[in-house]
């Protein structure tokens, strides 16, 4: 099977007047189609930089990225869910979800149908005409997920999407994420600081180390779903990943 995404010998150096930052050095990674992979590591380890590169926000210094075996055109269709409040406040929930379809010139009627489907998928049926201002943090992130999926992107990139939410809402959204992944079968690349979240969600966990940003190890997570974050196996794995993060 050709991997969905293949990263080869990737290097990213930020050249600032003060100093050079080796954000990523010699990164090699293969991501299979339809897998849920988590990127973890302490601050400055390059996990977000890798995500930004895949999202097309940041340029590569050296190395290459392939999609489906061919050189990646960074203008490909990707869905991004940010940690910060990224919904457009002047658009209702459904209008936000429609955005990607609208700029792809999809007909209004079809747009609305597709957007409602995705709003239903994230559990916001009935809230489509509310402005983000009137929605809770958890609901806003749900809309953000729906918006990122509506135009059927190749992969879904999530950058600590639930970091700003309270623990309860966070758990709900983690469960929702797994549900959405199982239903849509999208390839998901998920950056997080929260190891429990990574072990709960990921099929594989990529551990990064900083200075320079590099991959320490890729840890497979073979627990059946839904996962029990209080089971001894779960906690043991979490501890293992924690050790790896701290380069023990």
């Amino acid at each position: 099977m050709i991997p969905k995404i293949e990263v080869k010998n990737l290097r990213k150096v930020y050249d600032t007047p003060e100093r050079k930052v080796h954000a990523l050095e010699d990164v090699n990674l293969q991501i299979e189609d339809g897998e849920f992979i988590c990127l973890v590591g302490l601050s400055g380890c390059g996990k977000t930089t890798l995500l930004n590169i895949l999202a097309g926000f940041v340029e590569i210094t050296a190395g290459e990225v392939l999609m489906d075996g061919k050189k990646l055109d960074f203008g490909y269709d990707k869905g991004v869910v940010f940690q910060e409040y990224a919904l457009f406040p002047w658009r209702t929930a459904i209008q936000n979800v429609e955005y990607g379809l609208q700029i792809r010139k999809v007909e209004p009627k079809e747009r609305k149908e597709i957007s409602m489907e995705f709003l239903k998928l994230v559990g916001l049926d009935g809230f489509e005409d509310l402005y983000p201002h009137s929605l809770s943090g958890g609901m806003r992130q749900r809309v953000a997920v729906a918006r990122a999926l509506a135009y059927d992107p190749q992969i879904l990139l999530m950058d600590e999407p639930y970091g700003a939410l309270d623990a309860q809402t966070r758990e709900e959204l983690q469960e929702l994420t797994v549900e959405v992944w199982e239903k849509t079968k999208k390839t998901i690349i998920f950056v997080t600081h929260n190891l429990s979240e990574a072990v709960y969600l990921g099929g594989r966990i990529v551990v990064f180390l900083p200075n320079p940003g590099r991959i320490r190890e890729v840890v497979p997570v073979d627990f059946p779903r839904p996962r029990d974050d209080l089971s001894s196996d779960f906690i043991a794995l979490q501890r293992h990943v924690n050790d790896l993060i701290r380069d023990k």
């Binding site: 097309g56 940010f82 409040y85 990224a86 457009f88 406040p89 201002h133």
Partner: protein
């Protein structure tokens, strides 16, 4: 089953309609004016005597206002020229105060309108293109602090007396803060929104139309308010020296020759009411339907309001 209601209907049922504001609460904005009028009346009555003409009492002012509205009608009635309600109304519209209001009413908003359009265009150019930014920012920054009144003598010498000069001065004074505000608004749009649009592969033009413009609306409206205030100030000054016969400010300065204080007070009151109406009838509804509804700006009194 009773609990299979959709979440939407549960929300609808639990929201009670807001209790209507009582009359006394609604007329609260008028209280300060009632107080001022009372103080004015007492002072004017106390001063009385020789200064009575210079410090008219409220009833004298009200009488003058009535005269300014109805003089033509009264004269026509005396000469038996009025046939029916239609003609009576026609005479009413010829009242001097109506003429003054009319001329200010078409000049000032027109000037502001021109300033708004040009200001938004220039501000957008400045925000979007580094070239225009480097050209306009120093220029506008230097011009901004210069009061419109300082330009008036030059403008009159160059362009002559009359409407065109007044409009030009007013529009120019109003345009400067609008352009600067639009520029700022465009530059300080939340970058996350732009990133989000970029991630969905929107091109630059689309991002500009669908993200930058709505995103900078609070700043743009703010700039418009300032621009309107400036238009007002510049307009009053320009009208005074602009050599036109009709216009609230023109009337005020003409009335100086006759020491017609009552007229001045009436005209000033009308100017104030006019400005207030512009705010209430145009700006506030506009804001409510846009930036307030979207949560990008707090409504008036919103910081203390209970939800």
């Amino acid at each position: 089953m009773a609990d299979s209601k959709s979440s939407a209907s549960i929300i609808e049922e639990s929201v009670k309609p807001r209790p209507k504001k009582s009359f006394l609460v609604k007329i609260r904005p008028a209280y300060p004016f009632i107080v001022i009028l009372a103080i004015w009346q007492l002072s004017a009555m106390y001063v009385g005597g020789n200064l009575g003409q210079l410090f008219p009492t409220v009833d004298k002012i009200a009488l003058r206002a009535y005269e300014l509205l109805t003089d033509p009608l009264t004269d026509a009635l005396k000469e038996n020229k009025v046939n029916g309600i239609g003609e009576a109304l026609h005479y009413l519209t010829e009242g001097p105060i109506i003429w003054h209001v009319f001329h200010t009413a078409w000049r000032l908003p027109l000037a502001f309108f021109i300033a708004a359009i040009v200001g938004v265009i220039v501000g957008i150019l400045m925000g979007r293109f580094a070239f225009w930014e480097s050209f306009f920012v120093p220029l506008l920054s230097v011009l901004l602090p210069i009061p419109a009144l300082a330009w008036t003598p030059i403008a009159i010498i160059w362009f002559g007396l009359g409407n065109q000069t007044i409009i030009m001065i007013t529009a120019f004074a109003s345009f400067l803060p609008i352009a600067m505000a639009v520029w700022t608004g465009v530059k300080t749009v939340n970058p996350v929104w732009i990133r989000a649009a970029q991630s969905m592969n929107a091109d630059k033009m689309t991002i500009f139309k669908t993200v930058v413009l709505p995103g900078s609306l609070p700043m743009i409206l703010s700039g418009m308010r300032i621009g309107l205030a400036r238009a007002w100030r510049a307009g009053v000054g320009a009208e005074a020296f602009g050599g036109v016969k009709w216009g609230l400010s023109a009337g005020i300065f003409d009335a100086q020759e006759y020491l017609d204080i009552a007229f001045m007070m009436v005209a000033i009151a009308v100017l104030g009411i006019f400005g207030y109406l512009l705010e209430k009838v145009i700006f506030q509804p506009l804001e409510t339907r846009t930036v307030i509804r979207w949560g990008m700006m707090e409504e008036m009194g919103g910081q203390d309001k209970k939800v």
